[in-house]
Amino acid sequence: MGNPNVGKSVVFSRLTGAQVISSNYPGTTVDFSKGKMRLNNETVEIIDAPGTYSLEASNRAEQVASDIMKEADVVICVIDATNLERNLYLCLELLEQNIPMVIALNLWDETKHLGIHIDEKKLEELLEVPVIPTVALTGEGIKDLVEKINDASSPEKIKPTSQEGRWIEIGQTIKQVEHVEHRHHTIRDTISDITIKPLTGLPIAIAIIFTAFWFVRLIGENLISYIFEPLFEQVYRPFITSFADTLGEGFLYNFLISQTYGTIDFVESLGMITTGLYVPIAMVLPYIVAFYFILSLLEDTGYLPRLATLVDNIFHKLGMHGYGIVPVFLGLGCNVPGMLATRTLETRKQRFIAATLLSVSVPCVAQTSLIFAMFSDEKIQGNLSYAPIIYILMVFTTLLCLYFIVGYILNRFIKGESPEIFLEIPSYRTPHLKTTLKKTWMRIKWFIKDAVPWMFFGVFLINILYTIGVIQFLAELFKPLMNTLFGLPGETSIVLISGFLRKDLAVGTLLSFPAGTFSSFQLVIIATMLTMFFPCVATFAVMIKELGIKDMLRSVLIMITVATTVGIILRLILL
């Protein structure tokens, strides 16, 4: 256990060999992870708790930490050695619980750069528990830590006291063990200052976000054209073609390969193992890789809390606070981790608003890349009067405006409290490339393991519904509505309905219509509504878990209302 952002997860992964994500901002571990390690030839279970400043929790992630502690036999308290004073508070609280404990003085190497001298022997003596300096990133001190777990003790000396009492104790302890050299203003401090001052910070923030997304596109596009496309075209196509030939025409062919017999088009064929594989792997995954790499890099430097400070004002108007930007960022990759990140917000109201806005107006990489794919398709492009980017910008601007408008309205009507921001600003750290790559890889692995199966499930379900005609029936039912409400051709209903479960299919269907079926503005409406309507099965499942059935249903109701309203408004403006 320990404060946020002290390297608990890295210590954990060192102890267990498991890979756990860590980053330079509070709140990465919002859930706990379990691992096993060998200790005295026995296998013991070890738990990585979410970071907390105190055992008296102020949000759900901290509550998790506090609950875990109650079941522990031994606590490893991880301390940021560069921030000893503040970290000791939780330490004392833990010691008062009379659970055997060892202390890992992590980030030990940093103290030297910062001119902080800590007498760890003296600290050990004063607290009466083993204290081990560690550098979890490199593994220094971890062996010692494991050996000392046997010596873990719960000192009699420390008695429960008041909050002031603890700080007085800490003050006395610090005087005896820590000596800080006078520090000059370093470049790091200067960078820290200019990125948080509004005058310089805001332009820098905009520049950073633009550069970040530019890199995501650059990396993503290159991955597609040099790795994934060739892989599908040159390796997979010959295989699938011969497989299709052996299969012959019929139900299985329609289900697996394509609805129409003939040449296979990976985007438009809509089969389980053609479009169903191509879209998640060759169109979405490359951007996921690129996105998570850049996000991990940004996280590790410690930039995000500064961004949260800069945008706090805006988010406050939406009933959240600056930290609300973190779910948005994660959600731009995949909505599921975005949903999980809403846990770091303190009240039900804040979490509800964050989750609803996320599902309504934050497109995930899958949705974004499909919107891009849709407008850059040759067939569609022939029909556009402006450059594709204009239409793409229209879609995203609409979504951005919606985020603010819907948030503003929800803040007015939803009861509950919106506590203000209160957030630690960690010092900048140079990202460690190996750690960043490892983290990126962990997230990609997570995406493949947890999100892709749901995508396949969606593909599977919809292909069945398609084959037995349910989709067509529903589409027929909603056809008249399309025209009266949104000014779209009746055929669009099938696109929107299949979009509930499969965005890829939606775009594929759209592209399979003859050129000229839709005007360019109609496409803008369709793309916007597709993003707003049901996120995906996986996000849904997490929403139920995070919000509960009742709030999830309310959230969905809001989503449907907003999507319909926006469709109508866009129609009035554009058509």
Binding site: E164, V180, N313
Partner: protein, 80 residues
């Protein structure tokens, strides 16, 4: 002496104050205290965001961002 007592939110940038009282509910006091903010603590203001945005303060060598409303409830004695 009395004139020296102002809310933390009115403390000028780059100045330091000593907290004299925190006028908030039990919950807020507890959260602040867990981060080492209580009566007698020295606080310096690093930056303030415009339009009643949050303040970034430094306490015991740690920087943190705190909402304007919360900062309004903390009274400090101006030191320098």
């Amino acid at each position: 002496m009395e004139d020296n007592l102002i809310p933390l939110s009115s403390l000028k940038k780059k100045t330091t104050g000593k907290i004299t009282s925190i006028d908030g509910g039990h919950q807020i006091k507890k959260r602040l205290q867990a981060m080492g903010i209580y009566d007698g603590t020295y606080v310096s203001v690093k930056t303030k965001q415009p339009f009643h945005g949050p303040l970034t303060i430094e306490v015991r060598g740690t920087q943190m961002t705190i909402g304007r409303g919360m900062a309004n409830k903390i009274r400090v004695e101006v030191i320098e």
